[in-house]
Symmetry: C2
Subunit: 402 residues, 2 copies
Amino acid sequence: MDEKFAELYSEHIKQMKASAIREICNLIAKPEIISLAGGWPDPATFPVEEAREILADILDHHWQYALQYGTTEGLPALREFIAQWAKQHEHIDITADQILLTTGSTQGMDLAGKTLINPGDLICVGLPSYFIGAFTIYGAQVIGIPVDENGMQIDILETRLKELHEQHQRIKLVYIQPNFQNPTGATLAMERRTKIIQLADQYNFMIVEDNPYGDINFEGHALPALKALDRSERVIYLRSFSKVFSPGIRLAWVAGEAHVIRKMAIAKQYVDACSCTLSQYLMYEFCKRGYLERQIQKNILFYRAKRDFMLQALERYFPSGVRWNRPKGGFFIFVRLPEYLDAGEILEEAVANNVAFISGAPFYVDGTGCNTMRLSYAQSSNTEIEQAIRVIGQIIRQRLKP
Amino acid sequence: MDEKFAELYSEHIKQMKASAIREICNLIAKPEIISLAGGWPDPATFPVEEAREILADILDHHWQYALQYGTTEGLPALREFIAQWAKQHEHIDITADQILLTTGSTQGMDLAGKTLINPGDLICVGLPSYFIGAFTIYGAQVIGIPVDENGMQIDILETRLKELHEQHQRIKLVYIQPNFQNPTGATLAMERRTKIIQLADQYNFMIVEDNPYGDINFEGHALPALKALDRSERVIYLRSFSKVFSPGIRLAWVAGEAHVIRKMAIAKQYVDACSCTLSQYLMYEFCKRGYLERQIQKNILFYRAKRDFMLQALERYFPSGVRWNRPKGGFFIFVRLPEYLDAGEILEEAVANNVAFISGAPFYVDGTGCNTMRLSYAQSSNTEIEQAIRVIGQIIRQRLKP
């Protein structure tokens, strides 16, 4: 059957690999599996009472609109709220017409790819980085820039830009998560933030800044978003309601220069016409009723305790010779094993013992990273976390060379 | 600003025109406008009571799942229901793993385009046809095949296929709405259905069969879907809940050969990860509780009366020399003016008089159709329909040559 259709497929889909993260959804559907795999929020954080109250009100008063198609750009009142919120909380100077509501930030990435990428275009991402299939499906060639504990190494990015410039080549965009990066949990240092903005101007590239975990900040203060430093409107800024409210409503927003947002909106007309209108009304009322700020504070307390618990479990159960970071926010701890260990093999054995995580290799576009793993403390209970870390620790210990 | 970003855009987005239908959403947001433009259902048909009951139950019992990410393929129970429903109602023999839930059929088209189209690939669509930006954005070259009162003229399609074959060229896919086509309202005749299936095998192309209005069938019996005639699994079948339940929940499904569906699911992983989970639970419960069949019957009565009313208004207010069809289902009446009249100019004058419709030209890939217009009876009240038809009739009358 594969052969019969083979010649009908597009070249890019032929080369497209399934997302390791999405595929693991099928695996962890088994109830006996403890999963540290997905970057899924804990349902315990979902604001169910508020959602129940708001949905009842919407179906009483706004059903004519909330069940109907909406504009492709999204509910104007919600975009106005977001513009105000971004100004107040992130010092980002945008108006509602510079905001497009999207069906998750996954769609924001796809629309950026669709709007910017021609086959063969070069892009840069972290080494490691969250999966960048949204760009490669349009034919982007990906260059990995190493990430250390202070995020993407912008000096290495600059060297690559210079080399490419000398070869009369250029990069089209840099995809970056400056805060609590997926998968490393690293936060981009302040001087690197100003530097990448300067490089974008100098070498004429766009920055796709993805900030899904920005609101889950354990340290009380935040470094400015690249978008807030962006004087020449090179930053396409992706923000999501998935982690702060609920992923199931599939709602996020992207902010950028009005002309770029307009192009992305035209692309969205042919991608899904508009995002779920019911979700948009739900989220707007959630914001308008003042629930957003309270929810953010609740999430921070919840996930900080989870992070601390997993860090303690790692100290207790993981052997020496294994290193990991202490993330300042977000969902993930990134583990580096001794070079000779293969996290993929460890994952296989872990799954046989009903424990799942994500091995790091798929996050490395250069094929390295086989000795790394991403552990999420977001979705499992403390009991489950302890059990899972104990099991993984044992497996590692058995494979360590003396 | 346009210039600054010009060199950063992808080639396809540069050439992409905004959808006339989507753009008109901004226009018809003015409350004083009577719109016969959008193919939007009348909110009076929305099953609000049922939605209220179901959403309350979901938030009581299933909120952990309904607000969480789901699998990319979609809620298994809903896909099982759809497989059974398609078997029972449309004699389509599919299993749940041949079904992918999508964020509207707009997304189904986009995923088909992404999965099948390479730049330069030839595709065929009706002349006129619903907008096919989902294919052209991936670089498809479009050939228009004339549509008459019995749908796409498959004999003309066959001639084109032969010609292309002699030139060692081929078409990749045919996009077709066999039932109550948008914009003409035409239904594809039975012998044309069997013929296009036979041609697909003979000339090795895929068929994207889009059936958004299939459930709004005024005649009591339906011709078989192409998918039901499809023995060699060449048909990708798009079905939507937008017209039968509500467009705001953005939920549709696509059925096809398992391998093709798998490829489309991989593409979807990078497009929006999954469709709105809350919508999926809402729709599943709506189906499970037996509301779907009742809703379909209610819609048929509602829209048949609307169609009849608009037909009467056309008889009364449109001058002779103007022709239109009597659709057997769906939302649209297609009007053909004398060749020398320009529906775009008539639209302009109508909008100045607070009446909107869609001029036919954007539906014609060959630039013809300037003397046609699409009128939707779906969304306006009878009073509004009468007023709008009267206004448009007057404008036409003033422009008729004696």
